[in-house]
Assembly symmetry: C2
Amino acid sequence: MTLDLTAGVTAARGFSAAGVAAGLKRTGAKDLALVVNGGPRHQAAGLFTSNRVFAAPVAWSRQAVKDGRLVAVALNSGGANACTGPAGWEDAAQTARLVAQGLACPEADVAVCSTGLIGQRLDMAAVALGVGLALKALAPSGGADAAHAIMTTDTKTKQAAHRDPAGWTIGGMAKGAGMLAPGLATMLVVLTTDADIESNELRLALWAATSVSFDRADSDGCMSTNDSVLLLASGASGTRPDLDDFSDALTAVCVSLARQLIADAEGAEHEITIQVSGAASEEDAVEVARAVARSNLFKCAIAGADPNWGRVLAAVGTTQAAFDPDLIDVAFNGVEVFRQGTPGADRSQVDLTGRQVQVDIDLHAGRHQGVVWTNDLTHGYVSENADYSS
Amino acid sequence: MTLDLTAGVTAARGFSAAGVAAGLKRTGAKDLALVVNGGPRHQAAGLFTSNRVFAAPVAWSRQAVKDGRLVAVALNSGGANACTGPAGWEDAAQTARLVAQGLACPEADVAVCSTGLIGQRLDMAAVALGVGLALKALAPSGGADAAHAIMTTDTKTKQAAHRDPAGWTIGGMAKGAGMLAPGLATMLVVLTTDADIESNELRLALWAATSVSFDRADSDGCMSTNDSVLLLASGASGTRPDLDDFSDALTAVCVSLARQLIADAEGAEHEITIQVSGAASEEDAVEVARAVARSNLFKCAIAGADPNWGRVLAAVGTTQAAFDPDLIDVAFNGVEVFRQGTPGADRSQVDLTGRQVQVDIDLHAGRHQGVVWTNDLTHGYVSENADYSS
């Protein structure tokens, strides 16, 4: 499936967006985004962090999307509005209210997303100013500005769109530079479509898409307080999609955005694909891949271009997956360095100087497979997260 | 309890030890240690890594200690003998046989421990030479040499001893600079006592001691293929200990060694104590403490002397422990930065320039508590683990 990586939340008909500088970021960079569904329909679905310590905007948006209907999403960088108590909840509600007034819609149809430092109140004067500016700037060409306005330690915007031959489109934007960026949180994703589709169908497709995309991207094992993925459908194409096609396209857009997040993760010098095959179940495959993706020693080895398969096996051994250690194969970039439980090709044959690293693990325990994407653990990661002044 | 940190495996009567240079390390440093129990009794207990990918010496020693009897422990650095297949098992057996021949004891009474790079065969000519040298060098004063010979990336030896007024002594040595050191593995511990005590009593005391010491030290979340903790009792004091006193003393020695490991962990610039109180159970307390100890973002923040309590809460929220986010308190070095679910004292009041960091988390969910020791994630850690050439 060929995606357009230059188009995002306004690729689909019926949507307008804006990204403005509200003054939440001291740098003066864009920090407030608005995505508005102009209809005719306003179907929606959302998925949120499973962290039990979740931010006020997550609590607000979870409630707002519950009825399967959203008109707009307001997003800010420059503050996560997490761990801010009852006052933080009031700030999230107030943000929704300001947008709702401008759009003449119920406040319960406005979702709110925040990203930035945990534990600080938002400057609500800046938010009010920003909402006003964004309402004025709303445009069908505003997707790129919105994608800019949600960046924190991201160095690039993340956008992707699929235009289906059947006449409907899915587009989206994402931000995040690690599961939880420096003092900053986190992964925010807004997806839009002009397909004519019901909210319960959106919910199923979104669950299916995220479970093999954002849920498979693991930068640093840290789960955020603010993760939000929202999907809005305008019906403006007038086309009812084939549901399997829609689900496939949504998955492709989400996989693209997830991989763009990993590629731009804090300090990343290598993008690592961990592919587990021969597993007794898909759960086993993902558990094994995730254990390797979370091994700091493995991630440091890749930073040093060292095909240290011992660290891969040590991580595999911590899982509950079905396998016999004497049957496992491990390959780095196609070179099988461990075969049937004993050392294989010499590690000097592995070239890890490129940015893309593929680790293949065959458990020889079944027919299932799974993939997790991660990145290496570098001096850059430590610098961004140790030297960031909170 | 006051411990002697200059005495180790030969502090207790009946034990002799040696540490020699066998040529396994290219540097010419000591790399083979031998600890021998001269009796009159030879009671023993052992605990090993729960990693399902475990090294040949772990398999050998697990079997050797099963009958509660050991005469000697041979330990080498310079090679983990892990993931080496059937040939690796034969190397471990051969090491035990060489020692057994020299001591005229059954090979099944000799435990073997290895640490170093995973996936390479040991140079058995060097091991044979080293065993010969060690047998000759065995002395009641050899504890320090043995502690030296098991070091890998450790910068210091780790020893501790308790001399009980009742007439018996417990001493021990440890190595490890991270759960799994660079391409190198791992934590090895040998404990000795001259108390007159049975192997089943040793087993219970060892389990109790390790569960609140080595099991609570979490440097980088990485589980080794070679972790081994062995406890040998000679009965040479002729004194049967009070079992509670013995258990307490063994725990104190193990806690000291565990904290010495964390203090010397790779790249560590801060030693962090995470104390969770107000938990509904001890398991909850340890789960919460461990989640924080494994957060790379938290560990990077401490490296940067940043009291980033948002990262603590984000980690707490990933656990299944009983708590209400609105009731949690978090303090850094005694300064309560988060109180009852809202920001507390300003973080500028926290001084993290010292090496010791205490994080107190009160869940207000019960009366139980638990502690985990960890260290920060620094440039030094990345350097040691990325730049190490395998």
